[in-house]
């Protein structure tokens, strides 16, 4: 379906522009797991203002979506316990691996970072294998 490709491209371009805006104004990498994780104890950072503001804007998008475009947030395809397991693994893994789809995927690949390229290939591979395996029994 061609329109889904266009929405993906448009949304992706907005994500790239948002990351660029944060780099231009604050000199920071727009990695969601890093921005969120660095606010959490016991290794929280002191420089919180821009992080809280950036996450606030991100959360505001979700609130606006709930009001005007609820279909933009899709239903889960897994049971609630599996979603919780998935969330915990994502949280632990992104902090251990220093990034997620935004920090490694968008910002890192754009800067030709070797670490990010390896990370992206790794999480794409394990993601594909897991989605395939999980599709068989849930």
């Amino acid at each position: 379906m061609p329109s889904s490709w266009l929405f993906a491209l448009a949304g992706g371009s907005m994500i790239g522009a948002a990351g660029a805006l944060l780099l231009l104004t604050h000199g920071r990498i727009a990695g969601i797991s890093g921005v969120l994780g660095s606010l959490l104890p016991p290794t929280a950072v002191r420089d919180r203002g821009w992080r809280v503001a950036f996450l606030g804007g991100l959360l505001a998008a979700g609130v606006v979506a709930a009001a005007f475009a609820p279909a933009a947030v899709g239903a889960s395809v897994r049971s609630l316990p599996l979603v919780i397991v998935a969330g915990a693994i994502v949280g632990f893994g992104t902090r251990l691996g220093s990034g997620c789809t935004s920090g490694h995927g968008v910002c890192g690949l754009s800067r030709f970072s070797l670490r990010s390229m390896v990370a992206v290939v790794t999480f794409m591979t394990t993601g594909a294998i897991t989605a395939w395996l999980a599709g068989g029994w849930s």
């Binding site: 231009l24 104890p41 016991p42 979700g62 889960s76």
Partner: protein, 156 residues
């Protein structure tokens, strides 16, 4: 431009507003692109069941825009607007935490169909799935910080 050190109230306010705008634009991009739809994400990751490759254009579009902007922003080594320097990763080594962490992240992403940004956006939309995912994700991050501290010998 102005550095944080000599940044007045209006300038600080503007810096916060622009960070909110960046976050909002990021979230809107996630919503429009389809990344907040677990079924789409899993349909992209699982290449064996009617593969939907369209989400590749999310990262593709984002990387093209960010890469071009990155070159422009860094063109003459000017400082960012609201900080005295850029905070860019400098490490180039491939270590076990990077590989294990990325592998784990992929497992969680392929299982739930949500990565951190879409998880937070879904939570803010009030979806039970999103709230459960985000709470578990924050707990997982906290656990990683704790385990890293224990490994480091409990020192600050």
């Amino acid at each position: 431009m102005t550095a944080v050190a000599d940044c007045g109230l209006r300038c600080r306010l503007l810096s916060i507003v622009l960070a909110v705008v960046a976050g909002g634009l990021f979230g809107a991009g996630l919503l429009i692109s389809g990344m907040t739809q677990p079924a789409r994400v899993i349909g992209f990751l699982d290449v064996t069941r009617g593969w939907d490759p369209s989400l590749a254009f999310v990262m593709g579009g984002a990387v093209v825009v960010y890469a071009l902007a990155f070159r422009w922003i860094r063109r003459d080594r000017r400082d960012p607007w609201f900080d005295v320097t850029f905070h860019l990763p400098t490490r180039r080594d491939l270590d076990a935490p990077l590989l294990v962490g990325a592998a784990l992240f992929g497992v969680g992403w392929g299982l739930g169909g949500l990565c951190p940004g879409p998880g937070l956006v879904a939570a803010a939309s009030g979806s039970i799935t999103g709230l459960a995912f985000a709470a578990a994700m924050i707990a997982g991050m906290f656990l990683q910080h704790l385990s890293a501290r224990v490994r480091a010998g409990g020192s600050a």
